[in-house]
Chain length 214, copies 2
DNA sequence: GGCTAAGCGGAGTTGATCTACCACTTAGCT
DNA sequence: AGCTAAGTGGTAGATCAACTCCGCTTAGCC
């Protein structure tokens, strides 16, 4: 699963020693967890401690903290692209909606590095690919009458930013709350009134979020 | 305008000396500008330099950097509450919409400290006040048939988070882009199809935003 | 079993901020 | 004009997190 330096080894890196591979995975897991729990500002030493390794071990695998983050983000990116390709296989005009839902699920399951996703996750090529897919999904949605004609690909990108923000803010105190927001967004781009099916946040959940931000 | 320590002087602070007041205002302006341009991580020394004062001057007025930030945020908060109260005076059910627009304008004009707004801007009392206003505006909107009955106050809070995110991401490269997003959000909570009047982001603007995030 | 390249740990260095301090200057009252 | 509390500037010191370094350990081939 993990067998090379951050980006998939350009020059064929020799395979890691068994213990090294184990430690690498531990580091990645620890970082994923800690970033999800407390954000990207957790210290490197803490990540190493949680992983049960020394910092030297971490720094042997990743040249710096940023590379570690980028590694995690890269995983998100490829999963996102996968979702996009799968959405193309959906029938009728529901591909776009199912992509958005998929992205929501994915992000909710990996809340750690979301802020870096758009910032430096997608390479120009990947971005181009994603946009191509979005364009096709959107066209189909237009044709199926599932989305207003005046909605553009750039609108969908903005929707994704919005979705990401809500996922980030609510994962801990009210996981799943993003679904209702997505309902509203989808209703917003739909040509006809559309059901908002998920329940709203309770007042209590909202308070919990406000508190936890402090 | 500026005449006291950060929060509106609890014990009647004696008025500042003329030069001190001038310097305080300079510091506040410099901080506003720099935070807006490059985010909260700009150094204190740079703020002092831009203001044309020494750091000692800054630290005489504000016990620490955080207090400076909170001071700026407090300003945003009171302006927001003002907007809310004004919205109550609006006729029919349009008060909610005009509040949201007002908040968008306000945030777009003060993009520096938005990330701190919800985190520690509103005191419990202020939050309660804002919620009360929202509740009344929402009720009226319901009665006027401007908003779907199933939309709650918590939904509106979430909408505000979404709006803030889009404002933050687009202020520099495409100021005003938030208006279209708000159109979509309003369409999403409206019981009937609703015009989306502002133009979408151009592909070029979107690229500029993606680049500038790096 | 022996050898060696690969891996490991974690104390210490570096660099960037934030903050305290204090000798010097000045506004503004009398 | 003279006095003094208030204000000023900027350097030195504290803090904190990222990162380096190197002597010790070990996997895995012979």
């Amino acid at each position: 699963m993990l067998d090379a330096m951050p980006p998939p080894a350009k020059a064929p890196t020799r395979p890691l020693r068994a213990d090294a591979a184990r430690n690498l995975e531990r580091v990645v897991d620890a970082a994923t967890d800690l970033f999800a729990e407390r954000g990207l500002e957790v210290g490197v030493d803490e990540i190493a401690a949680r992983a049960g390794v020394g910092m030297g071990t971490l720094y042997r695998r990743f040249p710096n903290k940023d590379a570690l983050i980028k590694f995690l983000v890269a995983d998100l990116v490829s999963q996102t692209l996968l979702l996009a390709d799968n959405a193309l296989a959906e029938p009728d005009g529901i591909g776009l909606e199912s992509l958005l839902r998929g992205v929501g699920e994915l992000q909710a399951a990996n809340p750690g590095c979301l802020t870096r996703l758009w910032r430096d996750g997608f390479s120009p090529t990947e971005l181009e690919h994603l946009r191509g897919v979005l364009r096709r999904l959107l066209t189909r949605a237009h044709e199926a009458g599932a989305v207003r004609p005046e909605i553009t690909v750039t609108d969908v990108s903005v929707l994704l930013w919005s979705l990401q923000q809500i996922v980030t803010m609510t994962v801990h105190a009210a996981p799943g709350a993003w679904r209702r927001h997505l309902d509203i967004l989808l209703a917003g781009i739909s040509p006809r009134p559309r059901k908002i099916s998920h329940r709203p946040l309770t007042q209590h959940e909202l308070d919990a979020i406000n508190d936890s931000q402090s």
